[in-house]
């Protein structure tokens, strides 16, 4: 995974609560067997009309936000299905950071596995960010979102932060613990399926 670096971008306001992963990537696009190419299907039913034409009133079709890497949304983002395709679609579309008052558990975890940073902020700070039309600088290392002379701090689990910053592979790290996994298997009475 590529290390997560500083991001300079305008923010895309997407004021919806309880956005489920069925909306982020509808089921008809889950049949691909690769991780790439999902961006064009992001929010498909909201972005396109029945003839496949972009809906002008949908925020992600507004050219202002074409190069935005930061999505700001409302509570319980990513609820429902565990499909990681939702994160692949957001990332492929260009979003590296999602800011919300809260995230659904599985979606939140899926983000980190793909180099996408989910940031939890309170509504006061979210409202502040939504008023900014210029670019903001997002610095994971110092845990700051900087705009003009001001900044907002955000919290993140230090363990996850390091993994993002260094672009570490989870499986590589786990395999370093192989001895302990083997030991666990020896001392625990694991019941296998096939005897």
């Amino acid at each position: 995974m590529k290390p997560f670096s500083k991001i300079n971008s305008i923010v895309t306001p997407f004021d919806k609560a309880n956005v489920d992963t069925d909306q982020i990537i509808p089921k008809q696009f889950l049949k691909l067997i690769t991780k790439s190419g999902f961006g064009k299907f992001l929010f498909y039913d909201w972005r396109f009309d029945n003839n496949g034409q972009p809906k002008n009133d949908f925020i992600l079709n507004d050219p202002t936000y074409k190069d935005s890497k930061i999505l700001i949304t409302n509570e319980n983002f990513g609820c429902g299905s565990s499909r990681e395709h939702a994160v692949w679609a957001l990332k492929d579309f260009g979003f590296n950071v999602i800011i919300s008052p809260s995230f659904a558990d599985i979606f939140y975890s899926n983000c980190f596995k793909n180099g996408v940073l989910p940031i939890i902020l309170d509504m006061k700070n979210i409202k502040k960010l939504l008023e900014i039309s210029d670019e903001v600088e997002l610095d994971l290392n110092s845990q700051k979102i900087i705009f003009g002379d001001e900044f907002i701090n955000f919290e993140i689990d230090s363990h996850r932060k390091i993994r993002l910053l260094e672009g570490l592979d989870d499986i590589d790290l786990t395999l370093k613990e192989n001895e302990r996994i083997e030991n666990f298997e020896k001392i625990s009475s694991i019941v296998t399926i096939f005897e």
Binding site: A17, L30, C79, G80, I171, T174, I181, F194
Partner: protein, 469 residues
Amino acid sequence: MAQTLFEKIWNSHVVVEKENEPSLIYIDRHLVHEVTSPQAFDGLRVNHRKVRRPDLTIATIDHNVPTTDRSLPMVDETSSTQIKTLEQNCNDFGIKLFGINDPNQGIVHVIGPQLGITLPGGTIVCGDSHTSTQGAFGAFAFGIGTSEVEHTLATQTLWLEKPKTFEILATGKRKNPFAVTSKDIILSIIKKIGTDGGRGHVLEYRGDAISDLSMEQRMTICNMSIEAGSRAGLIAPDQKTFDYINNRKYTPKNYDDLVEDWKNNLMSDSNSKFDKSFTIDVEKIEPQVSWGTNPSMVSDVTEKIPTPEEFGQNNTIQIESAKKALEYMDLEPETLITEIPVDRVFIGSCTNARLEDLIDAATIVKGKVVNSNVSAMVVPGSQMVKHEAEKLGLDKIFKDANFEWRESGCSMCLGMNPDILKPGERCASTSNRNFEGRQGSGGQTHLVSPVMAAAAAIAGHFVDVREWS
């Protein structure tokens, strides 16, 4: 120190624990299906990794499969490719696959328990959020993303932050246990605690009203834990649990010894503390019908659809959501639930397509005919359920009433196969999600129990099934 059931399971599966960091947790069972696994197997190939424990892993094909005649070639090429990919992956990595023509094929959360693969006290994962179903057996069962599928295949472990615990205490006795089902209990719970009420927590359903339920009814409850925002929900095992798993195809040989151990250990200690608690009296629960686009938007069948303001109770986000939901659902506030007509009826899914669900629905349907404005189908949760139902003659009851009787799979719960709603079609569905477009772009889903769905199919609109039983 007194521990909850979840804490006991967690503690017995910790491989690595460091302060203020996620723990490495051992996984006892990994269930794989065709939609969320291809990229995981690809990752293994690229990095020259093997599957660490094929003896703790099984796979099946459920999301994509057609529910029509399986001897015919598949029409959808991309579905066919995904299915062939899983067959190839299982072959390459030595994983037991219950394939499309296997008598044990079915929805992954239905076949796990039916085959005796799901066991109490264990950790169970699958790349599917409804893995929580299997918590009904007193296991820590939860859905994972594809990266975690790959991680589990390679290491048989996962890094997890320890969730908090949330007690859901269900007291009292249902007034009409045939018509007021476990689906109505869980929908009532979600209505109260909200779609994110359980976020960061593992739910433990407790109390006499839970003990009273059969295993299949308990699975319906645990299944929808994720709809309350919880990655997992569980129920302490009892004699019903042990009997359900006994004498299944893969029930362990030393089963009696295991049961003894489970009996002594798998319960929350009497003085254990939960981080949160919620109590519900099931005596007050009526049959539920969802009217909106998330599973907390439900009403009693005797009620009217609320106004957004009534639903939102001063919460502007909720009021806005309800407005949008009613617009999408093409419904007016203050409409009586029983006046809502339906075009389609779907009895199926990992929530409500086990044998008991079909028996109950058939009891309603027997001797009646589906309303001429309605098209209705039954999709058994597994080929085993289908076979058992046919032995009881349920297929004949449904077919005589003009229901379609299909092969097993996820089907119209999420519509990845040809079973979808057309735009504007309204469906009474026994599934778990009423999200926009879930059952087909523009389709309108109402979540109900199997008996409520069956009655709606006959009447052509929602009815209070208590009046039919």
